[in-house]
Amino acid sequence: MGKRSKVIERDAVVIRFSGDSGDGMQLTGTLFSNTSALFGHNLSTFPDYPAEIRAPQGTVGGVSGFQVHIGHKLINTPGDYPDILVAMNPAAIRANAGFLKPGATIIYDTDSFTEKNIQRAGYKADPFTEDKIETLNLIGAPITTLVKETLKDLEIDPKTVLRTKNMFALGMVYWLFDSQLDYTEKFIDDKFGKKPVVAEANSKVLRAGYYYAETIEALTPSYRVLPAPIAKGVYRNINGNQATAWGFLAAAERAGLKLFIGSYPITPATGILEELALRKDLGVKSLQCEDEIAGICTAIGASYAGNLAVTSTSGPGLALKSEALNLAVMTELPLVVVDVQRGGPSTGLPTKTEQADLWQALYGRNGESPVVVIAAGTPSDCFHFAFESARIAVEHMTPVLLMTDSYLANGSEPWKIPAMKDLPAIKVPVAVKEEKEFMAYERDEKTLARKWAIPGTPGLEHRVGGLEKTKKGSVSYTPENHEYMVRMREEKVERIQSEVPDLKITGDKKADLLVIGWGSSYGHILTAVTELKEEGYSIAATHFNYIRPLPKNCEEVFSGYRKLVVCELNNGQFANYLRMKYQKFTFTQYNKIQGLPFTVGEIKDHCKTLLEGK
């Protein structure tokens, strides 16, 4: 397929599609990653939407991006900075100028570089010199003109013609990677099946882009990324919200319960509700409620009545749910609350990522209010931890807070599809009528969980509620009973520690520096530490998914290192939590509060400073 003057073989490549909200960049990115996945690459993706639905065309505020990281080694992040940027207009250059790899390639539509667009993007005249990126590998193509030309014989309206520009760019990129066009052509056929002309137009333009790239000499170097050595199995791409939703479906099936979700839409959590709303075929009861409070309250009602109940939200919504969450604590009902974190405080940065709801999750309620707190580490991880959250909630009769964030929710990666039979069965502690009087708060000796007495069962009629209760379930203001119950609720949650897997270490058990992370920074920390180790540093990493209770072996792990650094996207919440729990260790902290994930480079730099300053 055409000559290639220079082919660069690479372990991994990062490519970013960037353009106006209307330019179809999300779709383009998705198609590219699916094709890569089919080819056998490891990959990780991250979309980056503007906060406005449609910010003014051509402005930086309106730029929509989609980054894909493909590789034949393990890919743990969507990549810090792109090797290849596809920029549909000057604003896309401006938005990305500060975030490109040295020597990166930029493919751009020269037709879009009109005076008006250049100025709208905030440039005076020449984007490349003004942003000092004229040294990069710039590949301009008159995409708009070429697209019009390509489609001049088809009978379609000009709007539709322009909407195919992204396919031209995608075609060019495919040539760069020597990829097949089949998958994308099939997708186009499926999508526009009902409008054959549109399908034809898109295919035509896709191929036009491909051949254009082949034709012009400028398009070197081109890239080759070998397929990755991947475990056998059936795979699919999955993002964090979908994985979360599906994890709950799996848990419901393995528990033999109906799944109930009561939620109120909020970015970036809405996807969970949307995904589950589709699953009427699996009997999911999805309620879009009037507000977050109703979201959790309907879930509590459903839990009381015997469903596996879930409510999903983001930070501001979690704040609203906190009073009712305590009702679940007091009534000891199983419930999973998902907090897909975003930038705070208040409305904050609603479309950006952050890990600053940890305090709220642990402590944001009146009184002594223990709940289980779990945080997922990667998009596909969300499946596992959603399942785990539901399992723990049901088996231990307790609310569980599952924390993900904007980065996980929207990011996606290939995921090896598990079989339901390989997942553990969830044991539901249903109360049954016995001879003796039913005691609503009688506890299992081992777990301290009470039994789930489901309305409709004859003979188990009982009352629960938010007031302090005796073992029987009657209201009690007795001092000793209250202290006893406070300690029981606490102890019940603490005992779950016996089921929490031990911390794992990446690297040696003893070293100069241990990098500690939790939740969504997993991939970045892992990559940074792996690379540093390869570079010869004495370093290791460990990662927390279980925040409360913490794993048993924390002390043992921490003891192995001279320095400990906690990296998180907030002002040090987990670091402080560890300080409080493990007073004898000195935890330094590395924080970023910018609405963005860490870059691998940032973590490496910080670790080097720590190691060199030893």
Binding site: L282, G301, A305, L327, E461
Partner: protein
């Protein structure tokens, strides 16, 4: 929902072992008694009932019912009850609430439950005061009422429960009085049998913090002249001597005396709770003494698909067309690829 008339109960079967803790003389006692009696007569299995409440004196009721009960948090009973009903449509879900619980902090869940027409039975104990917190005004307190938080009289107009219910697209609204066990029993039964959100406002006396506030319409001496009990298909007659009635004059209701100005029973409006057009029900629910008699009984009862019913239907429909029947199938659906 559960079938009626299958089991023989007496009111005692619905009494729990908990000591009743309302003030002596509180109207809540009558409500409880009437409810226990009504439920016993319905013959639905006891374990099918769930009583959900918020917080307030009124919200204590579930403790005294020997059924499933959930004494939740302030204002959220409607949302919790919704969850219970959706999770298990086979249960009969009652919500016990007060004027503060349902209409102050719980106002949003109230109007949305009503709008959705979810099959829960709301009993709103309206004593026009916050009893449990010892006497602050509520959203139904009459303008000018002196309470602990309005030492110089309130300056806000109250909600009328019926107007708010119908304004929220309500299909069932009824009203009764705490001491009138007979009427209450009838109304509770109608509510129980109706499919959809039923709002029953119970005019309730709080002997401690708002004693006698309903006197103008509940006092034995005049109550027959100042209230009208509406019955389906019956002319709107009232008065001790059953000599007064209601007619429509232009766009308004009007009280007339039978026999005067040639008015006969035939000229009176006939009550039709099942009329879908809410206009007349809205006016009936809004009637207030002295201009009008205060309306009791079932004012509106218009059948409509319930939210829970529609959900069941939609599930059935989707399940009949979807190819996905298990999580395994779901996970394998759409774009996947095989690594060998």
């Amino acid at each position: 929902m559960a079938e009626t008339n299958t089991i023989q109960y007496t009111a005692k079967d619905f009494k729990s072992d908990q000591e009743v803790r309302w003030c002596p003389g509180c109207g809540d006692h009558g409500i409880l008694a009437s409810l226990q009696k009504t439920l016993a007569d319905m013959g639905i299995a006891r374990e099918k009932y769930v009583f959900v409440s918020g917080i307030g004196c009124s919200s204590r009721l579930p403790y005294y019912m020997n059924t499933y009960g959930f004494h939740s948090i302030h204002g959220r009973a409607a949302a919790i009850a919704t969850g219970v009903k959706i999770a298990n449509p086979d249960l009969m879900v009652w919500e016990m609430t007060g004027d503060g619980d349902a209409l102050a902090i719980g106002g949003n869940h109230f109007i949305h439950a009503v709008r959705r027409n979810i099959d829960i039975k709301i009993l709103l104990f309206n004593n026009e005061i916050y009893g449990l917190t010892k006497g602050q005004y509520s959203p139904t307190s009459q303008k000018g009422l002196v309470t602990k938080t309005s030492p110089f009289g309130t300056i806000e107009e109250p909600f009328k429960v019926g107007e708010l219910t119908i304004g929220s697209h309500g299909r069932f609204f009824a009203r009764t009085v705490d001491y009138n066990l007979q009427l209450s029993g009838e109304v509770y039964r109608e509510a129980a049998l109706f499919r959809g959100t039923t709002v029953v406002e119970v005019i309730q006396n709080c002997v401690i913090f708002n004693d006698g506030v309903h006197d103008a319409i509940t006092n034995k001496e005049f109550r027959d002249d100042r209230t009208i009990v509406l019955h389906q298909g019956q002319p709107m007659i009232f008065g001790k001597d059953r000599d007064k009635g209601l007619i429509l004059e232009g766009i308004k209701l009007k009280v007339v005396k039978i026999g005067e100005n040639g008015i006969t029973e035939k000229d009176l409006l006939v009550h039709d709770a099942e009329e879908a057009n809410p206009g007349i029900h809205y006016m009936l629910a809004g009637m207030q003494y002295p201009e009008y008699p205060f309306a009791l009984g079932v004012i509106r009862a218009v059948k409509m698909q319930t939210y829970d019913g529609a959900m069941i239907e939609q599930h059935r429909h989707v399940q009949s067309i979807s190819k996905i029947r298990s999580v395994d199938e779901l996970l394998m659906s759409g774009s996947t690829w095989v690594v060998e």
